[in-house]
Amino acid sequence: MSSLEKLEKIDRRIVYLILIIVVAAVLLRPIGLPIPISASTKKYYDAINSLPPGSVVALGVDFDAGALPELGPMLEATLKMLFNSDKKFVIFSLWSGGPAVSTIYLNKLKDLIESSGKKYGEDYVLLPYIAGGETAAAALAKDFKNTVKNDYYGTSVDKIPLLKNINTAKDFALLITITAGTPGVEEYLRQWVSPFGIKFCVGALGVSAPNYMPYYTSGQIYGMIQGSRGAAEYELLIGSPSTAASSMDALSAGHIVTIVFILLGNIVFVLRKYSRKEVKS
């Protein structure tokens, strides 16, 4: 077997082993690569920052535990920014795992919530899972309080001061969804953004962000955090670097390993094709 053949048939476990070693090494000894802020992340930040005091933000936590590594830091940073601001917000979810994910971060930020002076029910509220996908999104937009009767803890929405004047999507100053897929961006675009003209921001997985770019460039999505890289940028923007920012060096190292193996695979493929042609002739 020639060396080219050996390279072509390299055991995938060796590739994984190299990846594990490189990622672990960089996590333990970070390089400190710079993280420039992209325009879409800056606009996400600006969308929240520029809201008048007292504005109510609709925050859709539309993901479950499977997407925590990438979307968790976005949610944490968004909550930090909202708790540190003079805005109010309503957390809801079209995903069954959304409320559980929200409670993880609300518990994590307990100290910040206490120090910010925000009161549950007056400044923020957590709603339960709303089943029905697009139908639920449409119902929420048209008749918010009749779609969801209680908050996550069982209190009637009629007894929650923050929801007193919330009847339709128009009563929110901004809609944010941090989403892992469907239901998510396209459902909100169809049922909230297009009919009610609400400003819309998105926190998306790296794998879905390219699919949402047409909506971002058209202006239907105002600001967007794209994957863990975007989350790291956002953490830096709010001045609170956390898990996403600390994983950026390892992510870059992992990307380099991936690119090297893609290049190597292609080079070996071309060389083998060339050598086979030579043998034939």
Binding site: R13, Y16, L19, I20, V23, A24, L27, L28, D64, L68, P69, E70, S96, G97, P99, A100, P128, Y129, I130, A131, E134, T135, A138, K149, N150, E186, L189, R190, Q191, V193, S194, P195, L205, G206, V207, S208, A209, P210, N211, P214, Y215, T217, S218, G219, Q220, Q226, G227, S228, R229, T243, S246, S247, A250, L251, G254, H255, T258
Partner: protein
């Protein structure tokens, strides 16, 4: 180095390692982790959905606040289960018709405005007072949209000018697929890095 003494951290760490043993080869430890995940997810989804249905349909039915709405939804829901009967299976078509009709009605209207008209408007916004780079982007987007659409024009043979347009359209799609692949790599790597952070820092305490 201070290894965690929290049992929940140990469970999470061991399950992570069990899941990653698939890298070596398929094995019972991986299968166990996989089945735990699937079982927990299914159970969780069932309970959350049941809670939602209970509060929105069943409670109003019995306390009199929504007899009509609650009754109709429960009847439609129950009818779905007639699918298992050969004799009464046709009854489930009523529920399916309501589901499909509602979803289509909701989606089509929104789709027309949000995903067709607004997208077409965005594709032809070349004229206007855009900064030079945005202008370049807008023109490039328009060219790419036209070329990609021409790739799917099968009424005429794709040769000559149309052939060139279609070829550029193919490159455009390849670039889009490349971007999607890059995003996929980033997502998978992020999950892997997060689990590595958990194992190295939260479990093993290698700060």
């Amino acid at each position: 180095m201070a290894i965690s003494t929290d049992p929940s951290v140990w469970v999470a760490a061991l399950l992570t390692i069990m899941a990653y043993t698939i890298i070596y080869k398929d094995n019972p430890l991986y299968k166990l982790a996989e089945h735990i995940l699937v079982g927990l997810s299914a159970g969780y989804l069932f309970i959350q959905t049941w809670k939602m249905i209970y509060k929105s349909s069943i409670v109003p039915l019995f306390n009199g606040s929504g007899i009509l709405f609650g009754g109709i939804t429960i009847v439609l829901g129950v009818l779905l289960f007639t699918k298992f009967s050969k004799r009464y299976g046709w009854l489930s078509n009523i529920s399916i018709a309501v589901l499909v009709g509602t979803a289509t009605g909701l989606t089509v209207r929104g789709y027309l405005f949000a995903q067709l008209i607004d997208q077409v408007k965005a594709s032809i916004k070349v004229v206007g007072n855009l900064p030079p780079l945005d202008m370049f982007n807008a023109i490039l987007s328009l060219i790419m949209v036209v070329c990609t659409l021409s790739y799917f024009l099968f009424t005429f043979e794709q040769k000559g000018a149309l052939g060139w347009l279609a070829k550029f359209g193919r490159y455009t799609m390849m670039a889009a697929f490349g971007a999607a692949y890059g995003g996929t790599v980033m997502t998978r790597l992020t999950i892997f890095i997060q689990r590595m952070q958990y194992l190295l820092f939260t479990w093993l305490g290698l700060a």
